[in-house]
């Protein structure tokens, strides 16, 4: 897919002073577009992640992306977008964690701790072995995200994944929640609990992988967790929870992409996005303390 038309339009508006001047750069327009996709999707999905207590899991899947990139370079994929290895390895990682959790009596945080450490060890070892083959500075981009490297192919992958995730998630939203409230009740109401479990972790995984370019492997899981956590603190209904989470994630994504460029700060986009999300979380906590302090 080519986004030339849209890019020229936005660059034109930026040139005319209607949008922040940084958007006169084509690469930043790409980054902004992906931020506008990532924000709502991760924010919406995040409400389920937080409710189903999968925060640590989604962090782990993000970290697995590092190993995915290493494997991609090893097998000769372009290091700017080793998608086959990224999707392949992260899906394998996620499904293996869930499969093992269903078949052992270890608590899921212990199990994820084990898988995460082993996966990181593997990724770090591979990357050091590969250090002679590639410019090690690309590691920074992989780890913390970069607005400079988002090309049309990345945008296409992201849009396709986001559209798929939204189409699957919306009709299943209630069922995904119900399965975590009471599996027996869910089954009586016709919810295939185990199957939906797997489906949900696959959703988290693909959307995480598609967002790695912008946010980076280390921090991508955080955008699934922090905006939803902030929304949970201040919302009083599911509607508020969902809409606020989307709003927080979108604001954080856009601010994290635009502010460093506008202010000429040498900060990676992932870092800036998560710092913005963290600030929103802090704000939400304060609002809660002020307005509902008496509830304890």
């Amino acid at each position: 897919m080519s986004f030339d038309g849209l890019r020229l339009l936005i660059q034109g508006w930026a040139g005319a002073g209607l949008l922040p001047s940084g958007l006169a750069h084509g690469f930043l327009v790409n980054a902004l577009l992906s931020g506008l996709v990532i924000g709502p999707v991760l924010g919406g999905l995040g409400t389920l992640v937080v409710t189903k207590r999968l925060a640590f899991f989604s962090e782990a899947v993000g970290h697995a992306a590092l190993t995915g990139v290493a494997i991609g370079i090893l097998v000769g994929e372009p290091y700017t977008g080793p998608y086959a290895s990224l999707f392949g390895y992260c899906l394998l990682f996620a499904i293996l964690v869930n499969y093992t959790r269903n078949r052992s009596d270890l608590t899921s945080d212990t199990l994820i701790g084990v898988f995460l450490s082993v996966s990181l060890a593997l990724g770090a070892s591979l990357l050091l072995i590969l250090a002679s083959r590639v410019n090690i500075h690309i590691l920074e981009n992989v780890l913390f995200g970069s607005v400079l490297t988002v090309d049309d192919r990345d945008l296409t992958v992201l849009l396709a994944v986001a559209a798929g995730v939204v189409l699957v998630m919306l009709p299943l939203f209630n069922r995904l929640l119900l399965a975590s409230f009471n599996p027996a009740l869910a089954r009586v109401r016709g919810v295939p609990v185990k199957g939906l479990d797997y489906l949900f972790i696959v959703l988290i995984t693909v959307v995480t992988v598609a967002s790695v370019k912008i946010i980076g492997a280390i921090l991508v899981g955080a955008l699934l967790v922090i905006p939803a956590a902030a929304a949970r603190v201040v919302a009083s209904s599911l509607r508020g929870f969902f809409l606020l989470s989307i709003a927080f994630a979108s604001v954080a994504a856009v601010a994290g992409i635009l502010l460093p460029v506008q202010l000429s700060l040498p900060v990676p986009s992932g870092g800036a996005i998560i710092l913005a999300a963290g600030a929103l979380f802090l704000g939400a906590l304060l609002v809660r303390l002020v307005t509902r302090g008496e509830e304890g």
């Binding site: 209630n174 919302a235 509607r239």
Partner: protein, 259 residues
């Protein structure tokens, strides 16, 4: 599970347990349990903790690996609506989810965050359990008894033909008990079959049409006044069943020897 709200009630199914065995590890939970629940009955199952009451429900819901047969005989061609009232739901008490949101999550396809489906009368269901005024209260902020009432309300959507109750009265206060009594009366009037696991024998004596005593095996089965005599009740709760398969240890020794 939905779409049966408009039609005339066709009545509940009969439930047949035929020589049901359930073993977890080396513990025998259910031992040759045979039981028939008549269509439209309010059939209570009583017994000591660990006597297999909840396991019987899990076997009925197809959620416990059991031997023997569990069958539902529906009066019509197609199975009707089954409702289940669990003892509790597992969720984060601080979750921003109102009572109405909770019912929406359970009962509708339309994502709950978009608001209630107007085709479903949540108000009426909440009215019947005396919770109409608390529609917009946070579900996690309700008392245990109020949450239990909401769990009863969800069982009314859509109108059920079979209701499975797992100790629904545990958290109920006096008003809650009255409401529960009215619901049971409504179920009986509609010909809905009710399978009701309960530990409160006084309530069972008052409200059930039939009662079975379960402690690994069915110890008695009949109309409550006759069945719940002091002697029988003492028997049911004092008998200590052998909880492990008697000669499992011996069998293992034999196996080892054979190897």
């Amino acid at each position: 599970m939905s779409g049966n709200t408009g039609g005339t009630p066709k009545g509940g199914p009969a439930i047949l347990f035929d020589r049901v065995d359930l073993t977890l590890g080396r513990t025998v939970i259910l031992d040759q349990v045979s039981l028939r629940v008549e269509p439209g009955a309010v059939h209570a199952v009583v017994g000591p903790n660990g006597g297999g009451k909840s396991s019987l429900i899990r076997a009925l819901l197809g959620q416990a690996p059991h031997r023997g047969m569990v069958r539902l005989d529906w009066p019509g061609e197609a199975p009707g609506v089954t409702a289940y009232v669990p003892q509790a739901v597992e969720f984060d008490r601080g979750l921003p989810m109102t009572v109405e949101d909770f019912l929406a999550v359970l009962c509708q396809r339309r994502p709950a965050f978009l608001g209630p489906d107007r085709r479903i009368d949540y108000g009426a269901a909440l009215e019947r359990v005396g919770m109409a005024g608390k529609r917009r209260r946070r579900f996690g902020a309700l008392s245990g008894g109020e949450r239990q009432r909401v769990l009863l309300a969800q069982a009314l959507i859509p109108a059920p033909d079979l209701v499975i109750l797992d100790e629904p009265m545990t958290a109920l206060d006096e008003t809650g008990c009255t409401i529960f009594e009215e619901l049971l009366a409504d179920f009986r009037a509609a010909g809905t079959t009710v399978l009701w696991v309960e530990h409160d024998l006084a309530q069972v004596r008052r409200l059930a049409t039939r009662v079975s005593g379960l402690n690994r095996r069915v110890l008695f089965d009949g109309p409550p006044p006759a069945m719940l005599s002091p002697d029988r009740v003492l028997d049911l709760f004092s008998a200590v069943p052998r909880r492990t398969t008697g000669n499992a240890g011996d069998a293992r020794v034999v196996e080892r020897a054979a190897l």
